[in-house]
Amino acid sequence: MNKPIVVDDASFDQTVLQSKTPVLVDFWAPWCRPCLMAAPVLEELAEEYAGRITVAKLDVDQNARTAAKYGIMAIPNLIIFKNGKPVSQIVGYKPKAELKRDLDAALK
């Protein structure tokens, strides 16, 4: 099973920005119900895109520095990073098909 990985302020640079494969970062918090709703879909995506895209989760409550750096003002907030740069962003709970469209675009 390929599961989403947990990243924080300290590991963000190495794990996300230096990654050779695109990384989907889920900016979330435990008090946010739509974030919890998105969690199983992200687990499915981690499995389906294993080896091609890394799925990572960052708790904004514990990691305010990274959340502020990327101007996060609403969660769930999913940003795809490619070669250290954000290439697409989805704010709010969205159907899986929409997330897959963005992930497929990032792989091109």
């Binding site: 946010c32 709703m37 998105a38 904004v60 101007g71 609403a74």
Partner: protein
């Protein structure tokens, strides 16, 4: 995972969980499909004070978990995934999800509703940049900043009260001259020093550079226009049913609500609807639970007919 069930329930809020409790106790092989986390919209509420049996109130998330625990105890199975459509194959109902298809003799649709948007310039552009539809999710990002809440119902006032824990000022903008929210919430809001009200006021535009900076307002009676400087705007003007996946399967009203009779039956035999998704629902956790039970009882009758 088993693919055949007697009853499939779509949605894990009070309606779906109550339906699942009854179908499971009726010894019907039941599957509940929920997009992500059980509890439904009530799970957003910090404290639910109007659900009978909890005189001190209960957190919405805990209420949802307890309902789920109770239904699971009698055999309800839960699958966390997204439903993409329902198809009829003779008497059989096929529920398509992102984890494959499942069949059932009866389906209870209890997938609730989602937030309405304002439909004004700037709203789409600044979603996630100061425009929010979930105060419990996003209040945290507006510490010591002024924010507006648009709406006057229970949800809007609950959100305004929640925002006072973070924001410097909370301005409630309401298109009428009085709130729709229950009296007890109104009393709380009126006595909260951080909350201000602008009556008979609508938002015409949301403006800013990279994020929300101000709202353009119009007083609906005098027509007078003004601006309001805020960092965030929380939209809570009502709900719309999430029934896109039911289009072409079931008759829906113009707004998208599912039409049922008093037995929660839809036009298609064996498909029931319960809770917020249903036209003329009172949109309360307890009425949703009641709908779910009614649907479960008539689903059982349908299966054993």
């Amino acid at each position: 995972m088993n693919k055949k069930y007697e009853v499939i329930i779509i949605g894990g809020g009070p309606a779906g969980l109550s339906a699942g409790l009854y179908t499971s106790r009726a010894r019907l092989n039941s599957l509940l499909i929920e997009r992500g986390v059980v509890g439904g919209q009530i799970a957003d509420a910090e404290l639910v004070e109007n659900y009978p049996g909890f005189p001190e109130g209960i957190s919405g998330a805990e209420l949802g978990q307890l309902m789920h625990q109770q239904a699971t105890k009698y055999g309800l199975q839960t699958l966390l995934t997204e439903v993409t459509g329902i198809e009829l194959q003779g008497e059989k109902k096929v529920v398509a999800t992102t984890k494959g298809s499942f069949t059932a003799k009866a389906v209870i649709i209890a997938s609730g509703s989602e937030r309405l948007k304002l439909g004004i310039p700037g709203e789409e552009e600044f979603t996630g940049k100061g425009v929010s539809y979930c105060a419990t999710c996003d209040a945290f990002f507006f510490k010591e900043q002024p924010v507006a809440v648009v709406g006057g119902g229970d949800a809007a006032i609950t959100e305004a009260l929640h925002l006072t824990k973070f924001a410097s000022r909370v301005i409630v903008l309401h298109r009428r001259n009085q709130l729709r929210a229950s009296r007890i919430l109104q009393e709380k809001a009126f006595s909260e020093p951080k909350i201000e009200f602008l009556w008979n006021t609508v938002v015409e535009e949301i403006e800013g550079k990279d994020k929300v900076e101000r709202l353009r307002l119009r007083q609906v009676i005098t027509g007078e226009k003004s601006t309001l400087d805020v960092s965030g705007v929380f939209v809570s003007i009502g709900l719309t049913p999430g029934t896109d996946y039911l289009k072409g399967v079931l008759p829906l009203d113009a707004a998208g609500y599912v039409i049922t009779n008093e037995k929660m039956e839809t036009e298609i035999p064996g498909i029931f609807a319960a809770g917020d998704i249903r036209l003329s629902s009172a949109r309360q956790a307890i009425t949703a639970a009641g709908d779910g039970v009614t649907a479960a009882i008539y689903a059982e009758k349908f299966i054993s007919r």
